[in-house]
């Protein structure tokens, strides 16, 4: 349970080493750079936005190129590839990439160009096909559509809407004889006609045709339509060849996929590096890096740096009011839950890291809510498999998630055994349905069946809740002690602590409560009376002191009374733990329902087969829904009930200058680099 002590670090070095020092810092990833020193006449900040834009461009080009590649030449990936983590490569490869950089960017651009060609050609094909469609009714016409006149004749080639017979057309044009009409083709929508008349009648014929909605075809050409269609077909097939070639060209680049991925990472690292260069102060020959470093890393970093370069390192304790970044450090048991704490908020100014204490309750509460040995074993097995399969190279976030559910699973197994739940009552159902066993339960619970004794389970849940809340108050005491508000420990924490315990004892001594909860405890009158005294004294302390920031005595008293009203908050907090009972019963009873439904199939044909299907399917759904419920409500109990007692958060997370890459990580050739 700790937050790492942070120090301010100043590194003064020569500009000629700038690139290599910054790359070294980036690979070590233990310094958060800040730009809090102002510029002066000697030291300036450089504007690096131009360089960064070019990196951004090549990153997005490489990204697009990989997407295109993946579409045309998909890479086979197994389900477990998410466990693999980033590939580790050496600094030599990193340095060597510099010479290749330009050619890879060119490859990326080439892929994008090819893809553009493909898209354009596809559009072209659509256009050509549309033309063919227009031309198809004209195929039997053996003169070009653009043909218009000879020396003495004028021709009209076009369509009139709807279906017409030759006679009907002649009838319309009877006034302008002699002329020739050919119907090239006709359909319900339109009739394609060729009309030839003498030039002097042309105007009249055109008007007559217009009257029956004549229009010229939307494509024209100097070739006969049939020939034209042939040409178009050829152009389409050429276009297909172009697409094929472009695709082949892209696929040929698939050997460069790795390099394209690395290009993204490489330029991302350079992008971050240039961001830092833009933040540090530089004079003609010297530059200054300023930032935060965890104290325990400081010595080794300084040693490594000064063994390689000529530089000076200086430390400074951060000032009280400074916004120091927070980095949590916990042991393997609690570490997976740092993410849960960060999901609420990191510890703020003067607060303690609650992860370790929270971890104990987290696993405990999760286990009680799911409480099924079978489900727990599945969770443990799945997470353990993932951790082993992922090995050393697994990413930290994935590892922590798996570890968290591994511990949750262990707790689930424990409570499953306590409450006698193994895939609901699967063993009992199988034993009675298929083996005629009459003595159930096959495996009795170590403690009790919550379904049979819900009140006992409720009491247990609420008792656990009180312990959880009191632990929260203890955390508050510790925190106030650390912050040196000694008097507040008595006023804000001890008084409540005493009030909660004494009122619990008073409630337990009441017959009504004892009857409801089915408790069989006798509280001696002395204890009950002294609890009453303690409760009254602590109430008075709370009422008199909790409004102490107000100077007006009347206001102070009212504020104190209002604070005392907060006791109802404790009541609702404790009742909130009844979700342990509700969720625990939900997973158990739904499991039983599934088993019962499965057992109904036992007597039909192929019964055992159906039984297995229903059981597998049903429990798969049940474990998913209830694990989700347990996860959400464990978080809620921690965030609202537990953290509400002492924890405010508001810390800023430590964001070191490191390799924020997606696919690769560069490893310095040394033992302790990470």
């Amino acid at each position: 349970m700790a937050m790492l002590q942070m120090q301010r670090i100043f590194i003064y070095a020569l500009k000629k080493d700038r690139k290599s020092i910054l790359e070294f810092l980036q690979r070590r990833g233990v310094v958060e750079i800040s730009d809090s020193i102002p510029e002066d006449s000697l030291f300036h900040k450089a504007d690096m936005s131009y360089a960064r834009t070019s990196f951004e461009k090549s990153i997005s080009a490489a990204k697009e190129a990989v997407e295109i590649l993946n579409k045309l030449a998909p890479e086979k990936k197994s389900m477990l590839s998410m466990l693999d983590g980033r590939k580790v490569i050496s600094t030599e490869i990193y340095d060597a990439f510099k010479t290749k950089h330009e050619s890879i960017v060119r490859i990326a651009n080439q892929i994008i160009t090819c893809n553009k060609v493909i898209a354009e050609t596809k559009a072209e094909i659509l256009k050509l096909e549309a033309q063919i469609e227009i031309l198809t009714p004209w195929t039997t016409l053996d003169i070009p559509l653009s043909f218009s006149d000879t020396k003495y004749t004028k021709s009209f080639i076009g369509t009139i809407s709807r279906e017409w017979t030759l006679e009907a057309i002649y009838e319309k044009l009877a006034d302008y004889l002699p002329l020739n009409v050919d119907v090239i083709s006709s359909s319900k929508e339109q009739t394609c006609i060729f009309v030839l008349c003498t030039k002097d009648k042309a105007e009249g014929v055109y008007d007559a045709l217009r009257a029956i909605e004549f229009s010229h075809p939307s494509v024209t050409s100097d070739k006969a339509p049939a020939e034209q269609i042939e040409d178009l077909r050829k152009r389409i097939s050429d276009a297909h060849t172009t697409i094929d070639n472009a695709e082949k060209e892209i696929i040929a680049f698939s050997s460069s996929r790795e390099e394209l991925l690395f290009l993204q990472d490489y330029d991302k690292m350079r992008y971050d590096k240039y961001e830092v260069i833009g933040q540090i102060l530089q004079s003609q020959n010297v530059f200054v890096v300023n930032g935060y470093i965890p104290q325990k890393e400081a010595q080794s970093l300084e040693a490594e740096l000064s063994s390689r370069y000529d530089l000076a390192v200086e430390y400074e304790e951060p000032a009280e009011e400074e916004d120091v970044p927070v980095l949590l450090k916990n042991n393997g048991f609690a570490e997976p839950l740092e993410g849960v704490v960060a999901g609420f908020s990191l510890p703020g100014q003067g607060e303690i890291d609650p992860t370790m204490i929270m971890a104990i309750f987290y696993y405990l509460l999760f286990g009680i809510m799911l409480a099924d040995a079978g489900y727990g074993i599945l969770m443990v097995a799945g997470c353990a498999y993932g951790l082993i399969k992922g090995g050393k190279n697994i990413e930290n976030s994935m590892k922590n998630t798996l570890k968290m559910f591994l511990f949750c699973g262990i707790s689930t197994v424990f409570w499953g055994v306590m409450f006698g739940s193994y895939f609901g009552d699967l063993f009992d159902v199988v034993a009675t349905t298929f083996f005629g066993v009459t003595k159930v339960p096959v495996i009795p619970p170590l403690w009790f069946f919550p379904v049979n004794k819900p009140m006992l389970m409720l009491t247990f849940s609420m008792a656990l809740g009180i312990i959880h809340l009191l632990t929260g108050l203890l955390m508050k005491m510790y925190q106030l002690y650390k912050q040196k508000y000694y008097i507040a420990i008595l006023y804000d924490a001890v008084s409540w602590f005493a009030l909660i315990i004494s009122s619990t004892i008073i409630l337990m001594s009441l017959d009504m409560i004892k009857n409801i909860l089915g408790l069989n405890v006798t509280i001696s009158p002395v204890v009950a009376t002294s609890s009453a005294v303690v409760a009254i004294v602590s109430s008075i302390i709370i009422i008199l002191t909790n409004g102490r920031e107000s100077r007006n005595p009347f206001k102070r008293f009212l504020k104190g009374v209002y604070a005392f009203y907060g006791i109802t908050g404790y009541l609702s907090d404790v009742l909130s733990y009844s979700r342990l009972l509700a969720l625990g019963l939900a997973s158990g009873v739904i499991g039983n329902v599934i088993n019962k439904m499965a057992a109904m199939t036992a007597n039909i044909f192929l019964g055992p087969l159906f039984f297995i299907i229903v059981v597998l399917f049903g429990h798969a759904i049940n474990i998913a829904i209830n694990a989700l419920g347990a996860y959400v409500h464990t978080n809620r109990l921690q965030y609202v009930e537990f953290f509400g007692k002492f924890y405010g958060g508001g810390g800023r997370s430590f964001n070191p200058f490191n390799m924020k890459t997606k696919y690769y990580k560069v490893k310095e050739n040394m033992k302790n680099g990470y």
Partner: protein
């Protein structure tokens, strides 16, 4: 006709109402959250897992309803066994199921609206997912309290001799 024959009718009505009304609320709620979630996933498919968690939150009321219905069914002997009971007892079962049915319905829908709002947090500030999850979970408390009372009541009615 013996009026006490109606005991089992009311008892079954209670069980059915718990599953039906709470289930209808959850169906509506999960649907609402799903619509919002689909929008988030359109923008960023990698958020699917988290969206799914938020979508499923209003789904629990239906499960609690099922739970109460199941407990009631097995207590009143519909799933096999003796199913004779007085009218009064049947009515008691009916009333015992009401908290789950009614609170389940309305809390599922209210929770869904909180879920939909939380989808907005997830879309714009994915790092605040922990907080986004808590808002809908706060509503669920009341469904859990109703579940608790319904469950204790159903269990309690079984022991009453009328």
């Amino acid at each position: 006709m013996d009026i006490n024959n109606f005991g089992i009718v009311f008892a079954l009505m209670g069980a059915a109402a718990a599953a039906l009304v709470a289930g209808a609320g959850s169906a509506k709620g999960v649907g609402m959250a799903g619509e919002a979630g689909a929008g988030v996933v359109t923008e960023d498919p990698s958020k699917f897992g988290k969206v799914l968690i938020l979508q499923l939150l209003p789904g629990t009321q239906g499960i609690y309803g099922l739970l109460i219905a199941f407990i009631t069914l097995s207590q009143i002997g519909v799933l096999g066994g003796e199913s004779n009971m007085s009218l009064a007892k049947g009515l008691l079962y009916f009333v015992a199921c009401l908290p789950m049915a009614i609170v389940g319905y309305s809390s599922a829908i209210r929770q869904a609206r909180a879920s939909v709002a939380s989808m907005g947090i997830l879309a714009k500030r994915p790092e605040a997912f922990g907080k986004a999850m808590i808002f809908p979970a706060m509503v669920e408390t009341y469904a859990i309290l109703a579940l608790l009372i319904s469950m204790l009541a159903v269990n309690g009615v079984t022991g009453i001799n009328i």
